[in-house]
Each structure stands twice: as C-alpha cells, then as structure tokens.
Amino acid sequence: MGIAGIVLIFFSCTICGFYFTSRLRERSLILQQIQTMLHQTQTQIRYNAAPLYEMFRSFSGAGASMDRLTFIGPLVRFLEQGMAFPPAFEQAIRQWEKQTLLEKRDLALLLEFGEGLGTCDADGQVSQIKLLSERLEVLQEEAYSCYTAKAKLYPSLGFLLACAVTILLI
C-alpha cells in the first residue's frame, strides 16, 4: 500500500512537471499560429482585397496551420449573425481568453490587431500588420526561450518534489 502511494506521488508530481512544460510549449505554438494568421491576413489584403468576413471564414477552414486559434470559429459565427467586426472580434477573444494559455499581453496584442483591422486602405493595413508582427515576434522569441529554458526544469522539479514528499512521509 505504501509503495503504491509513493509511486502515485512520484507519478503525479512528475506529470505536473510535464504539464507545466507543455503549457509553455503551447503558448509558443499559439503565438506561432497567430504569426501565420498575420502573414495570411497581409497576403489576403494585399492580393485579394478580401473583406474581413471572407478572410476569417477562409481561416476557419485553414486546418492544422491555425487549429489552435479556436476563437476564429465563434468570430465567423458572430459575423454571420450580423454583428459588426470590432465587437465580434473582441467578444470572440474574450471568450477564448478563458480557454487559452496565452498571457494577458499576448491577448492585448491580438485585441489591438482586431481593433485596427479593416479601418484603413490596403497599404496602411499592411504596415499596421507588419508592426504587430514584429512585436509578436518578440513575444514569440521570449515564449520559446522560456520553453527551452524550463522544458527540463519543470519535470525535474516535479520529480524532486515527489522525492521530498516521499522522504517527509517516510
């Protein structure tokens, strides 16, 4: 019974460590997909002059390249219901906020993107997106370096914690 308890403690603490590592990785991957979305938005604006509804509808069917951006589906639904783009985008992000692993500043950047989208001509729009993309790159690098730095730390911490708890219990 005691051995089973110790195994359980080791297992759960190590799993916790891996869970926190995966959270860091997930943030990095989401930011990467947001970067993809920004690039595709630029392309759609520059070459297709696509309206926002059409653009996001195409993003919602983009498959693996944007599958983590689950706010796009509700956003398209809000637009189909006749909601104006700025409140629709904000509402979709606010709903997503509860599920996503992004940090507040990541979401703030995304909200800024939605606020500026569709407000000016194609050139202005592209410059605006480029600027956001550069800012996002900084967050992305930071998220990735955070992940690489802590990828081994958290599972090790979990293991050490398990050891500590076991020693205390024994």
């Binding site: 002059a49 696509a50 309206p51 509804y53 104006a84 989208l117």
Partner: protein, 309 residues
C-alpha cells in the same frame, strides 16, 4: 409602389443617427430617398420635396437649428460599417465616390482627397456620407416600353434632370425587355447604380436574360458586350463624353440597340450637349424619352420620335 427597404439601410447606421431615424414613422420613412450625414451638421433626409433635418423626436423640419449634430466619430463608424469593416476592400469604390450596399442602396462618400502625383488614390477624413435609398418600381417603364416598337427594339435615350428617376426607368426597361420580351440584354453598369451588384450578385431585379458588366467603363463594356455576349440590347447609364458617343455609334454599326440615359431636362438642353447632339442628328437614337420631375418623377413627360439620320 416603391419597394423601400428601410431596415436594410438602418443596419449600416449606428449611434445618434440610428436612434433618430428609428423614431421616424413608417409613413415618413417611405418617402425618404436619401439620408445625409455631414460632420458636425444635423442629420438630414431628402424626400421628393427637399431636404429636411431630423429632430430628436423623429419629426422632420425644414428649418435647421437646435438639432443634435452628427459627430466625426459617428461618421467614421458609419463609414467603416458601410465598408463592412473592410475599408481596404472598397478602396476603388471610395476613390470613385460611393460604396454599393446590400439591397442596391448606395453610399456616397466625400472627404479629403489623397493624391499620388496627379491621380487620386484615396479619400481620408471622411466628412460626408449620403446614403441613397434604392427604389425599384417594377412596371414604371411599362408605359414607355408599350409606346415603342419591340421588333426590333429601337435605341432610346432616356433624358431627365437629376433625381428624375432615369436609373429607375433604365432598371425597369432592362427587366421588361429581359423577362417579358425575352431579349438578351447586356447591362453596362459602370457606376453600379442599375443592378447594384454586391458580392457578385445583382441586388436589383434586372431580369433573367440580363448579363451585367459591373464597373466596366462604358466604352470598354459595350465593346466587350458586343464581342462576347451577343446582346439584342445594350443598356447603360449616363452617357456624355466623346468615348461614350463613339461606343454608342459602334453599337449601332453592330446592329445592337442602345438604351442609355443622359442628364438633360429638355430637348433643347439635349441638343446643346456637344457629344449627344450628333448622335441625335445621325439618327443613332430613334426615340428620346424625357422624364418629369417633382410629382411626375419617374414618368415620361414627353416621348419624341427622331427622324432617320
């Protein structure tokens, strides 16, 4: 009875103008042809009797003063709304001066021109928006079509003063020729006023046998229509310049009838138009329909048969 889709127009509006227009009674709303929003000016509407400011209780007044003003922010928000929050998709329309809305309505937009060299490339600081409510009046052109021979349908010039209903008549001619007489109609809709194509779909009923050349320059559109669509009749709006006149002449040489409109309230005014008068003298147009104004808006005041050239 005009089909007026008040609700379609209101969905593009927001803020105080929307609140005021929602208070207007359906009876008054049915008479409104234009909604005019000007930065830091009262909200105005245009009926066939003239322009009126909208009071806070939704009633109309000819005397301006004391009404709430439309703010710049409201204009900006409405501008974004009429562009479906995709200003970049409507850049060309904005430079041309108007955006076509769902339902065939049209929003004229003015502000400060942005020039690149000698070419206007954009409009900034939008200061005025004029939403022109599309009015389809099915059957309004029937008396005119009935008065004309149909086999072959002759070239007709629909002439009238501004706001006399030329576009409405042209639209109905399209519909009648296409649906009733089963003629192949090519509609060269340079300004998008007749068919009001939105997202590739004609918002107005221009008939089942009508091919719409939306946004094509008239001369180019007529040439393409003759070359590729083998029409019996070509319909186009507002001819006036030398290129238009040449294209109409080309149509006649190709054996295709042309129905076009022109700004001129009387026959004399028509003959005073430099590029139109030769077309009349050469017998390119066999009939001129002059439209009435005021209470006779949309009705043919005078139908003139011109002699052969």
């Amino acid at each position: 009875m005009p089909i007026r889709t008040w609700g379609q127009v209101l969905r593009y509006l927001s803020g105080q103008p929307l609140a005021l227009l929602e208070r207007i009674t359906p009876d008054t709303a049915s008479q409104i042809r234009e909604i005019r929003l000007r930065s830091m000016r009262p909200l105005c509407v245009v009926t066939q009797d003239g322009e009126y400011a909208v009071r806070s209780d939704g009633t109309l007044t000819a005397k301006h003063g004391g009404e709430a003003l439309v703010t710049r922010q409201t204009i900006e928000e409405i501008f974004r709304s009429i562009c479906s929050y995709s200003v970049h998709s409507h850049q060309q329309d904005i430079v041309q001066g108007f955006v076509t809305l769902h339902g065939g309505h049209r929003a004229g937009v003015t502000g400060t021109a942005v020039m690149t060299g000698e070419q206007m490339t954009n409009v900034k600081n939008i200061s005025s928006i004029n939403i022109r409510i599309a009015s389809q009046i099915p059957g309004c052109a029937q008396p005119l079509v009935d008065a004309l021979p149909t086999s072959p349908f002759p070239s007709v010039l629909v002439s009238g003063a501004p706001m006399s209903g030329k576009t409405t008549i042209l639209r109905d001619i399209c519909r009648i020729l296409s649906d009733t007489y089963r003629l192949k109609v090519a509609l060269v809709d340079e300004r998008g006023e007749i068919a009001s194509v939105c997202d590739g779909v004609a918002q107005n009923d221009v008939g089942v046998s009508t091919d719409v050349l939306d946004g094509y320059p008239k001369a180019q559109g007529m040439e393409i229509a003759i070359r590729s669509m083998s029409p019996n009749v070509i319909v186009c709006d507002e001819i006036g310049c030398a290129a238009d006149a040449d294209s109409v002449l080309s149509c006649m040489n190709a054996g295709v009838s042309v129905v076009a409109s022109v700004h001129a309230g009387t026959l004399e005014e028509l003959y005073a138009r430099v590029h139109i008068a030769p077309l009349l003298r050469q017998g390119v147009f066999r009939y001129v329909a002059i439209l009435g104004t005021g209470k006779d808006v949309g009705q043919v005041r005078q139908l003139v048969q011109l002699p052969d050239g």
